[in-house]
Symmetry: C2
Subunit: 427 residues, 2 copies
């Protein structure tokens, strides 16, 4: 296809009319497709129904340490669950706390703890009126929402194909009020980018003016490969050991997109004083997490190999969905120079960048056609994309057929917005 | 038996020798009994094994509102679980949030929220250097620990047979820095006292200088009757409605001592702005709680009647344990005027008050004999009982035989301490 900006006015008008016709046809048909959130589909959830069918007799109720999982106790979770997450996250079991269903909850609570009690022997963050956080953009809206909730002013740093722009980050952390950042280091939300080993090492190595600078290392998609060719993430704790910065990292993961979303098991990995502080707080916050659900998971998943086998089943469902969307985006948009998008090897999202100033309009056109996207702007702090350009596509939940329809509508909307901008038509 | 202080020195010495002999016999035998925490016994946990045996086919995976419990969504929990707790706690289902396994976690998070974000439109508590909380004593150590953790200076108010001393509370709340209190209004921990309707009404009616005064209403033992004659607790929200103070109350309950301790379901009941603030915070903290476990519980417990049937089974196990301890306390201590204790109609504890200045020594004697009590002092703020008099007995976990041994050891220790004080023997 030709660059749109290389078309004559007549050609452009014809191209515009065609896009409008395509769009109108879908609008008249009336669709109702939700691509807003990275939710697993029912078909994916079915993969874990063995967890529901495990009887008490099959499961037993004693953990590896002999504790009765039905009773109170065991603040850090059962040993086999800590070991499983340890293997998954590349840390010793002793550095793992196996927790409840939600890793978001763990991250929120850690930030809250830093605000009220400080970390690393420093003052509570809440007493620093200038407290700031680095926001890697585009990023995960729920991370930004936590930072905003706790009054951490966000400084945006753009993603690059190897992770966040480290030159900028190394500059920003010279300010002692900059207290940390959220990272999704593998298959990032929404770009699907995995940080390069060099990026991971620079995050571990960099000097931060704030001794209590903390990195929330959200391993949400740590085993969530889609294709045979997988991304590899360097072990941040191993690198941090080299630089004496293990305290800097608070890592979480969960089985939300391995087993059941919102009814799986989550975990923390941390070292040294950071781990100690978390345990001290947890000893006041909770008696113990749901160890029955931990044991249930460990009866079916004994090792990362078992989890990877499960992830291949997820990939078999998800891959055709990603392919369906990507094929249509390529077929409809390649060469036009009105949009760019990534082709992630894993994770839950495709990140689409349209012409500056047109993403909201594209979102509006889609919505009027019955297609709900992630709220445009949500991938930026305070819900405002300064370029109004990024659109997050979440292909996991709809069917392949729905996704094809959705991708066609989206492409038509992108074309309409680009043409109207060039033709000077006010939307 | 005769008052100890009415004995002659010879009689006292003989009584002392007898107690020491009894104590030494147990010490030589070597026991190992833990009565420290209010944990259910394995036999009680067995009562809920049907929850473990419920298969996916029996349970299904759709809640009453058609939502798939295996997936994200439903911040406030599934409707049938909200309704069940609503019935239990005496509030409409709309005023309930069905949550995860731990009500302690819910209380901690609410205090944390008040500290960082304030409540009722007032300033965050953390910015008030004089922030205070009322501590009803004796009380639950974990409540006190949360208050201490958040720097809420505790002002002790004694329990009376009808609940906390309301005259004192009404005085204390004239200080605008007094921000609230924890209450266990039914079968209080450790006294087993249920607040009288008048006490509940005064808590609802009282004028507090702090508009953001909050009462953490911990309904931990709301259905935990032991005998046919049950205590009745007035509905605090109904009374609060009369006085326009519904916002004042944050109530929680859980199935920890109904089904599985630490793997049950907990819930919040709240009204108006208080409920709104909690929902707003939760929308940032978590995507949804474990709805599978909620549905699992609702498949077996459809109403409070079902729960009461379960509680009768618990009572059948617990009652002989309470009776065994109480019978021995009566037989060994009545009339001596060296100790007093309650005879609760429900809950998990017997509260024993010994002579001023001797509780720690009694605890030490018991420990040296192999009997672990709840840390003496734990029932008071900062772990310090100013009278050194209160001992919490938790009879749920040991067997009846063990409890008999434990009660004999405890009585011997109480007698030894009393005699030594009168005889001027330095311990």
């Amino acid at each position: 296809m030709k660059r749109i900006s290389g078309l004559s006015i007549d050609e452009l008008q014809a191209f515009y009319n065609e896009a409008k016709q395509q769009y109108s046809a879908y609008r008249e048909k009336g669709v109702s497709i939700n691509m807003a959130r990275g939710k697993p589909s029912a078909q994916q959830l079915d993969l874990s129904d063995d967890l529901l069918n495990l009887t008490g007799a099959q499961m037993g109720h004693f953990a590896a340490d002999g504790s009765d999982v039905r009773n109170y106790g065991g603040l850090c979770g059962i040993p086999e669950c800590r070991a499983l997450f340890g293997e998954m996250m590349g840390v010793p079991a002793d550095n793992v706390i196996a927790a409840g269903a939600s890793s978001l909850n763990l991250m929120y609570d850690f930030i809250s703890q830093c605000c009220t009690h400080g970390t690393g022997g420093c003052d509570p963050w809440i007493f620093d009126e200038n407290r700031k956080f680095i926001a890697i953009v585009p990023g995960y809206d729920r991370h930004f929402a936590i930072a905003e909730h706790f009054g951490l002013k966000m400084i945006s740093v753009p993603m690059t194909p190897t992770g966040p722009d480290m030159d900028r980050i190394e500059e920003i952390v010279k300010d002692p009020s900059v207290k940390g950042m959220f990272c999704v280091p593998k298959y990032s939300n929404p770009d699907g980018i995995t940080y390069s080993p060099e990026t991971v090492e620079r995050i571990a190595a960099m000097h931060t003016a704030a001794p209590d600078f903390r990195v929330i290392w959200d391993e949400a998609y740590i085993v969530h490969d889609l294709y045979e060719e997988k991304d590899e993430l360097a072990n941040v704790f191993t690198l941090a050991e080299k630089y004496g910065t293990q305290n800097r990292f608070f890592a979480v993961s969960s089985t939300s997109k391995i087993t059941f979303a919102g009814a799986g098991v989550s975990a923390i990995a941390a070292f040294g004083d950071t781990l100690k502080e978390i345990k001290e707080r947890l000893s006041l916050q909770i008696i113990s997490y749901d160890k029955i659900n931990q044991l249930r998971h460990c009866r079916l998943y004994h090792s990362v190999a078992d989890i990877q086998a499960q992830m291949e089943k997820h990939a078999a469902i998800l891959r055709p969905k990603f392919d369906a969307v990507l094929d249509i985006l390529h077929a409809e948009l390649d060469g036009l120079e009105i949009a760019s998008f990534n082709s992630p090897r894993g994770g839950y999202f495709i990140s689409l960048n349209v012409n500056t100033g047109s993403a909201k309009y594209v979102g509006k056109l889609c919505l009027e056609c019955g297609l709900t996207l992630t709220g445009v702007g949500a991938t930026y702090p305070y819900g405002v994309d300064p370029n109004d350009a990024n659109i997050r596509i979440a292909p996991s939940c709809p069917s392949v057929e729905e996704l094809k329809t959705a991708a066609h509508i989206l492409c038509a909307a992108v074309k309409i917005a680009a043409c109207e901008a060039l033709l000077g038509i006010k939307s």
